[in-house]
Amino acid sequence: MKPQPKGKPSGLPFKSRFTDVAAAAGLTAPVIYGGVDRKDYLLETTGSGVAFLDYDNDGWLDLFIPSGARFGTNPPEAINRLYKNNRDGTFTDVTMKAGLARQGWACGVAVADYNNDGFEDIFVSYWGQNVLYRNNGDGTFTDVTKEAGLVLPGRHWTTGCTFVDTNRDGHLDLFLSTYVDFDPARIPKPGQNPNCNWKGIPVNCGPRGLTQGRFFLFRNNGKGVYSDVTKAAGLGEARAYGLTAIAADFDEDGWPDLYAACDSVSSVYFRNKRDGTFEEEALPRGVAVNEDGMEQAGMGLGVGDYNLDGHLDLFKTHFSDDTHILYRNDGQGNFTDTTKVSGLGVETRYVGWGAGIVDLDNDGRPDLFVASGAVYPEIEAKLPSYPFKNPRIIFRALPNGSFEELIDEAGPGIAAAHSSRGCAFGDFDNDGDVDILIMNMNEPVSLLRNDGDPAANWLKVLLTGTKSNRSAIGAQVRVRYGGRVQVQEVLSQSSYLSVNDRRLHFGLGAVKTADVEIRWPSGARQTLAKVEANHLLLVNETGGITGRLRPPFVR
């Protein structure tokens, strides 16, 4: 895929500016992930996701930051961290109090109320043993991995993880992807193999040349115990370098399908056959490769409705020298690569990770976001055109349906160079826009506060399931505004191994009311007519609207 000329700037103002407020917010601990100046192993390069969650149900987003480790001497500060939102723009590190301090090579995070007790739980994927933390409801968590039946035999490098109610019984199952069979004792050293060189320079090996990972599906029996149904569900044979895992109803048959971004090989799409089994259909559905039939290095996934046709599209980030890809969904789960016609072919300089289809300026048209960062810090000295730290990228949606790349124009938080990996989208300051939390390799996280157009309208929707799972994972919300329709789905992982604000956010532009249609995982439907903009709508599956809150959403 060759980059395309950028063309003339649209000249249209982008009314959101992003500023990194992490340091002022107290988020100063670096996220340790492998060596700083060189990385001898692939494990040191892939980083982790991040999560926005409200673990204490106070209506303010807290943060969970998984940590990696370092070969040799692992610094004591290399632990997963939970930050409580102080509701004043700052956060307090409550890791120790919450019982979440843990060292190791954490990769992905999924958040949902797996036991339907009213509190959001946390699943963390690892190279090593994954961990399920049950939220005790009192600010503390308990590692229940073993009693939940989620111990994986052998050593796996689990990356993607997402809660999903595959059989629509109201209990959240768990879909996992693993990356490679990784054993540092057996892997060749940089330069020892053709797969251990990049542009002629010795680098760490993989993923090409290493044995591909696999996929797992664990079914929740409703009592907090999971069974491995991978083989019975038809997922046992698939092999790939799996990274971010998502679950959403792409073919709109009411049943969640599974998709994983895969590095260097075809990505996988498991269609839910509604009988407990799945069929891998990525190639015929057009989401395995790009339009040229070429495999790409899939890292992160944005899920949203970029063209406002009421269907969930996909945005996947890739390695440098390739474009990121935008797939348009026809509503039946068949996708078309629209990268070039959408204007995304202009950017191939950076390795992309975190991804989102998110309306960042509340103009009613979802934009695209990419968190980027190179993987080989040792390359920069020899090839200055491949710096380790890169800016973030916004592809802002234009009225003609295409996108325009913005970096400097979107504020210092976008232009700042970091080697970033996962990112999450959410409104941490409850002011009615979407902020961004970003993991940076061996640096503190970035927290990009969005200062947008106060005249632009928006609507947020927070769902609570009763027949469906309590987190409403898998619920689809269609919002109609000003002749447009936009669909979103509640997910427990997307972007790159990350978790977004569970409150769905719809920018409305100049429109002041919207019609809202909710399709719950149970199949129940609700229609809410002429909902007033600039509110957080609290909706219960059986009780209907239980709250309409204005910023800062005090209950």
Binding site: K2, G209, S266, P284, G293, M294, K340
Partner: protein, 346 residues
């Protein structure tokens, strides 16, 4: 071709095989290639093991830029005379036309002429035996070609001072434009595209400039250079191919179709032409026209997963899901094979 064959059949009635052969050889010498092909085919119909006909047919196919057919013909001839030096050399050269250095290398190794030794060293260089290639090239009599490949060998060994010194010798024996061109080829083959571009621009070679700009992902400039190449020589098949392929990749299929159609006539064996033409038709929503093109591409390049992918898409568009499924299964199989071959920790 059909008309030529029909007329020839009338002429050959009553002619002996040596007479048919002589007429075909005369036609080949006069570059009346369809007539020559028909004659040699007639000889082979009568005498399937006629070595002269096989050898000449191979030469004819090479001249027509149909290396796959040439290879097949030379191989048939070599089954009759396995050590015939001319056939070995020609078969190796036919493989080189398809950039198949691996197949060509052992053929040149069986020959002892200076030309064969040079070609063998080039194959070694292109198949990763850089040290052996360097040693062999250093033993050969200095010619511009030897300087060129020796420079490339030094670049691949990251011995830039010797590479530069060898390149300097090119400038001593060749006009500047030719030397710039050969220097550009060195940098291009070493994937140092910025340096290659500078050399090609100085050489004034628009085709190579365009190809290098494609490698540098500067598509608009590449298209402009290739258009300049075609303005200089409207029959430049390579420029037509690269510009056509580039336009298809840039979602501009209409102007690509006449260019690529010309290429299929001039180079019927080139699978890429059929592939890009098929893709162009798919982009235009014409799956029916795309299908035979992609089927041809798939026959010529059965190991190319992207070809089978487009074939699958064409079958989908034509409402043939079973055929699409087979094509996609082939894609998956090829991808698995490629991945399994790369595994370094068994």
């Amino acid at each position: 071709m059909v008309l030529v064959t029909c007329l020839a059949l009338l002429l050959w009635q009553g002619q002996t095989t040596p007479q048919v052969f002589a007429d075909a050889a005369q036609a080949l010498q006069a570059n009346r290639l369809p007539e020559a092909e028909a004659g040699f085919r007639e000889v082979l119909r009568r005498e399937p093991n006629n070595l002269g006909a096989l050898g000449n047919l191979g030469v004819l196919y090479s001249r027509q830029n149909r290396p796959a057919l040439a290879i097949d013909t030379y191989q048939r001839a070599l089954r009759l005379v396995p050590n015939e030096p001319g056939l070995l050399l020609n078969l190796g050269l036919a493989h080189l036309k398809l950039d198949d250095y691996t197949s060509a290398k052992p053929l040149f190794a069986r020959l002892s002429t200076p030309q064969a030794r040079e070609l063998h060293a080039i194959c070694q260089l292109q198949t990763g035996e850089v040290a052996a290639a360097t040693a062999a090239l250093e033993q050969l009599a200095p010619t511009p070609a030897v300087y060129h490949f020796l420079s490339l060998a030094y670049v691949k060994q990251k011995d830039m001072p010797r590479a530069e010194a060898t390149l300097a010798k090119l400038y001593a024996v060749l006009p500047a434009a030719q030397a710039h061109y050969l220097e550009g080829r060195v940098w291009y083959d070493a994937a140092l595209f910025d340096k290659a571009l500078a050399s090609f621009v100085q050489s004034g070679n628009q085709l190579e400039t365009g190809k290098t700009l494609i490698s540098l992902r500067r598509s608009a400039e590449a298209a402009a250079a290739l258009r300049r190449a075609l303005a200089e020589n409207p029959n430049d098949v390579e420029a037509q191919y690269f510009l056509g392929a580039l336009l298809v990749q840039e979602n501009d299929p209409k102007p690509a179709i006449p260019l690529l159609t010309n290429v299929t006539t001039a180079r019927p064996d080139l699978w890429g032409t059929h592939y890009y033409l098929g893709k162009a038709q798919l982009l235009l929503g014409n799956a029916k026209a795309a299908l035979p093109l992609l089927e041809t591409a798939a026959k010529r390049a059965p190991e190319e997963a992207p070809v089978h992918y487009q074939l699958g898409r064409a079958f989908q568009a034509l409402g043939r899901p079973a055929d699409a499924k087979l094509a996609f299964a082939k894609v998956a199989k090829l991808q698995r094979q490629a991945n399994n071959e790369s595994i370094m920790m068994k």
